[in-house]
Symmetry: C2
Subunit: 336 residues, 2 copies
Amino acid sequence: MNGKAMGQATIRDVAREAGASVASVSRVFNRLPNVRPELKERVEAAARKLNYIPHAGARNLSMARTGVIGVVLPDLHGEFFSEILRGMEREAAMRGRHLLLSNMHMGLGDGVEALRNMRGRVDGLIVMAPHIAPDLLFAHLPASIPAILLNGPENRQGRPELRIDNAAGARTMVDHLVATGRRAIVHIAGSQGNIEAAERARGYSEAMIAAGLSPMILPGNFDEESGHLAVQRLQTQHVEVDAIFAANDMMAIGALVALRDLGVDVPGQIAVAGFDNIPLARLISPGLTTMAVDIADLGARAVNRLSAVIDGENVPQTELRYPSLIVRNSTTHTAA
Amino acid sequence: MNGKAMGQATIRDVAREAGASVASVSRVFNRLPNVRPELKERVEAAARKLNYIPHAGARNLSMARTGVIGVVLPDLHGEFFSEILRGMEREAAMRGRHLLLSNMHMGLGDGVEALRNMRGRVDGLIVMAPHIAPDLLFAHLPASIPAILLNGPENRQGRPELRIDNAAGARTMVDHLVATGRRAIVHIAGSQGNIEAAERARGYSEAMIAAGLSPMILPGNFDEESGHLAVQRLQTQHVEVDAIFAANDMMAIGALVALRDLGVDVPGQIAVAGFDNIPLARLISPGLTTMAVDIADLGARAVNRLSAVIDGENVPQTELRYPSLIVRNSTTHTAA
DNA sequence: ATCCATCTTGTAACCGGTTACAAGAAACCG
DNA sequence: CGGTTTCTTGTAACCGGTTACAAGATGGAT
């Protein structure tokens, strides 16, 4: 039927069909007011007839704006990953933006490379890299591309950052344990080299010392097995403790299960606490006392702030989010 | 320093700086072999000096290829969402592609609109829409954009689809329950209008009838509370059952907890089974018998097949994945 | 030295939109 | 009715890459 080969119709095809100019077609599709109704209808009819769909890529190029936010995440575990994305997605959709995913399970070299070829694909980046120095990361990135750093170490590139105050959260938890009578509180740390893990350990140590107690830290990996192993180690080395504070919930659950297998009463003999408040924490028995981080909110906020930066607004350089204490039965019998 | 205003350097800037043509710069960056080493170095030096980063959007436009796969998902719950994305991401990264996220928590009208303005943004689409007729969905989409349908109802647009055989999975579970001596097996259904829910219910009914038993279906919503409510309903109406088969794990867990609160022995008095094998299923006590769907694999496969379609290869029209039975203590005492 | 094949390089058109600018039409005014 | 303002419309340049094609350079064979 058509003179040309087929393919998708372009704006010029529509213009020809409607007997109008490309400028007018563009105006119609962008709902600019200054188009005579008669012309508008002709254009719309032509577009319908050719089943014209605007080519977003071309639009992006000429407008130098894609409406896409690049999200660079490390290899996250289940809930955290889905929750943060859910939050980001909700906020992005509300602003008519899309999310471009790019995991970063690679070394720094590849990471920087990956960031670089986001140019022209996205309007800005949300980068979460808990084990890479952000200065190094951003140094290779043009200063012109907006980016916000999530839960990373501090950076000195003047990039805005958004962080959970992990140290404060850990202090709150230690305070809770001390307040409920615990003294020999051991901490199971998260993965080595992970910033959040380090911050939580730091908060723990600070609060212990402030309470006149001596810190004791066991290594861990953020996974369930770490919790298991930590309990085993405590047992074989005959270390007496009355509370275990794990750097995340999965490890706390591992510890909980290990203690249950050993017939140790929780919280009677030993209190157990975690960090993150994953859904599982509520469902397991006894319910796990933990620090709740509203992860979806964190994601939404990240998109929110990045959007502001993209739109040229001024945003504060650093924003901290405080986790809140959720007391359940793993530390006290009287909890809900 | 630079004559022009600043902004990012373009390929023409590099060409000028290197005293070469844009074609040569392009060749260098695309690693085409026919460039004299001396020129190549000059170009690379110039690019380094100007901190040139190729503009992916421009490249996409002129090559008519973005390297991006659009992913349209409904509002999924935790594990499912993260697992399927993890699988997709892994496979996409391996093929040097990116994922563009676009949730679809909207009506059909918006949905089609959302799909449409993916044109020029993505090379293809993975669409998961368990509650929208795909024929309607695809009818408004140009036939030229590759798309594959995930876990939807059958479509007659000749689009390739990838589905979990939910009915077969449900039959397998009923067979297991019957084989372990259960007779009064009740099914808690998933959300109304959801295709997967309907398929699971269908498989359940078929298998029950095949076993000479009468099906009995309670309504549900895929959430924990549905499980709770179902158990309550059974109790208040004094219905005697010896097995509960929920259309997903969350409802099964809700039922499990409700039964525990009532002091009913599982599996002694009532067996409980779910569907999906979420991580929680293993951790809860008793361990939940369920049908395991390798969700990450499903995601990876979807990307895999879509890539094939994009690359013009021929792919089979429909592919079914079979879930596998995981027996735990919620249906039999002798399990691992 | 001549001719031909091969390799390197540059020019310019193209991908499909947006938009500055100018020109023509319409409306308003005295 | 002429002049000015306002509104509508079209032309063409531009966004930043890729690539067909042609021209120039190089090298080998005779």
